[in-house]
Amino acid sequence: MKYAVDNRGYYGRFGGAYIPEMLYPNVEELRTRYLDILQQEDFRREFDDLLRNYVGRPTPLYHAKRLSEACNAHVYLKREDLCHTGAHKVNNTIGQILVAKHLGKQKIIAETGAGQHGVATATVCALMGMECIVYMGEVDMARQRPNVERMRILGATVVPATSGSKTLKDATNEAMRHWINNPTDTHYIIGSVVGPHPYPDMVARFQSVISEEMRKQLEEAVGNPFPDYVFACVGGGSNAAGAFYHYLNDEHVNLVAVEAAGHGIHSGESAATTALGKPGVLHGSKTLLMQTEDGQVIEPYSISAGLDYPGIGPMHAHLFDVGRVKFVSATDDEAMKAGIELGRLEGIIPAIESAHALAALKQFEFASDDVVVVNLSGRGDKDLETYIRWGKY
């Protein structure tokens, strides 16, 4: 595959494993074993079975007719919001907990922003009877309260990250510190296509089921596996990686990644990494990163906790670099309007993350026979409070 990670863990000039030595043995163990494990027959069987019977895959590809009319194109929604736990995140946590079992690990740690990855991790830990600790920024705990309680009901311990901006970046720092201090019995389930190699590749593989299904479903729906466009929001980039994965080599498929512009790209309150970032190193990989001239990481901002991250996965940094994926952004305002619009037009209230992808549709002039797929990465239940506070519905 043209855009795949190379044998040293890089996507072009991005990626690698930039980690302190204390993490090296863990990451190295994962690096040397993950491909083997993923190819094992019993792994595949268990993964496929759980995705089907536990997560509820394949998720529908729904032809959104009223939205299509509004956009003057054939718009299809890939319904990741219908996954068990309410977002695509569970595709990855199912995969990683099985990897953890194959590695003989007994404990699981995770970071979470919106709480979706935390819930998905707590869920699979309950399923496998494994101890689970989730780090979550204090700010995010307040704005995603229901997810905090969901994790607790599932038996996970939620630890507030109180350093820095008290959001996703800081939760990730804390999870890494925990892993340094517990190097042998613990697996760290990273929630997106970020972190040191092999995480970005491993997580992308687990999420690639999204585009694998899309190809089959489009073939059935329109007689052709190739849409004209695929839209996905990007926090770290895992749902986008999954939605793009099996189209990367099909250069005639336009891939559009939508970042969170917060109050506006140049407002000083945004999370639009490709627009504002420079190459740097954070959380174990070289990637595009929002930072000061001195190389200090900038606290990002978005109304959506899941997009509130100062970097993107190295794979996306590369796809941006070479122009294979077009990166655009949507503001808080645009995303909230698009989320409410989907509720009115289709009876679906999306996660605010996913609403960013919907908002970007407005920035394109489609031909009326264009087939457009939007990856609806999650549902809006967790965001009700934000919708209510927003009010304009």
Binding site: G16, Y18, E21, M22, P25, L282, H283, D294
Partner: protein, 263 residues
């Protein structure tokens, strides 16, 4: 000129005291007087941390000193000026800069190597720089500029990797005492002692200093007994935080550690 680190290790085999502190902490311009006080009190190596917004390998004490230093306005350029000042003031013991890669990358790694050497730095520790990247991209430049590079090893580092790190190292190896983030701790476990023992039996070509968790004369002398010496970080930062008279307190702290233990 000979590198001060290699000169030190050529003549001194035991009880080398390396003290770590964060640049620009507690106040922006404390970097220089702290170095002077450390040198005057008999410290063997000064290791100055470049503050970073996301210090993942550090415990709460050093995290907080990083944050204060950044709030004070600390950056790489200013630190290099401060090091030059430390040299101008006659401090002649080895100076090492330790920092996460990102601030160094933004300064420019090559430019940083050259400018650091120019300012009077003897060695660098970049804990998240991969070994292969150092070897392929920077080792020659380190050598041209007469700079040592130190890698970390930990109790979970494989023997094979320790040998590989030893082979690319010039100066000394930083043996992290425990599988942990930085922070003062009280005692060594039997596993840690076995790990130090193993390192000695491996007969590496470089000496090693033991760090992480060393806090006072007791832990220093016990750690130093297993290597060429030891590194004190968080405990010293805690001292700086509470000190009302840096010169006097630093002298007392260092003398307390360097004193031969009374039986």
């Amino acid at each position: 000129m000979k590198n001060r680190i290699t000169s030190l290790f050529a003549t001194t085999k035991k009880d080398i005291l390396n003290v770590f502190y964060t640049a620009g902490f507690p106040a922006l311009h404390d970097t220089v007087p702290i170095a002077e006080a450390l040198a005057a009190a008999g410290t063997d190596i000064i290791e100055i941390g470049i503050p970073f917004s996301d210090p993942v390998a550090d415990g709460p004490t050093i995290q907080q000193s990083n944050k204060v230093a950044l709030d004070n306005g600390m950056n790489v350029k200013l630190l290099l000026e401060q090091v030059a000042t430390i040299r101008r003031k006659g401090v002649n013991i080895p100076i090492i800069l330790m920092g996460y890669l990102n601030p160094v990358m933004q300064y420019g790694v090559e430019k940083f190597i050259v400018d650091a050497a120019q300012a009077g730095v003897d060695g660098l520790i970049l804990p998240d720089m991969p070994v292969y990247e150092y070897e392929e991209e920077y080792k020659a430049l380190f050598e041209q500029n007469n700079l040592c590079n130190t890698f970390l090893i930990s109790p979970t580092t494989s023997d094979e990797r320790i040998r590989r790190i030893d082979a690319v190292t010039e100066g000394f190896i930083y043996a992290v005492a425990a599988s942990s983030t930085t922070g003062a701790k009280s005692d060594f476990t039997s596993d840690q002692l076995a790990y130090f023992d193993k390192l000695n039996k491996m007969k590496l070509s470089n000496p090693f200093l033991i760090g992480f968790g060393i806090s006072n004369r007791d832990t220093f002398s016990r750690a130093a007994a297993h290597g060429a010496g030891a590194i004190i970080g968080s405990a010293f930062i805690n001292l700086l935080k509470s000190s009302t008279n840096l010169q006097a307190d630093i002298r007392q702290f260092i003398e307390g550690i360097k004193q031969p233990s009374r039986v």
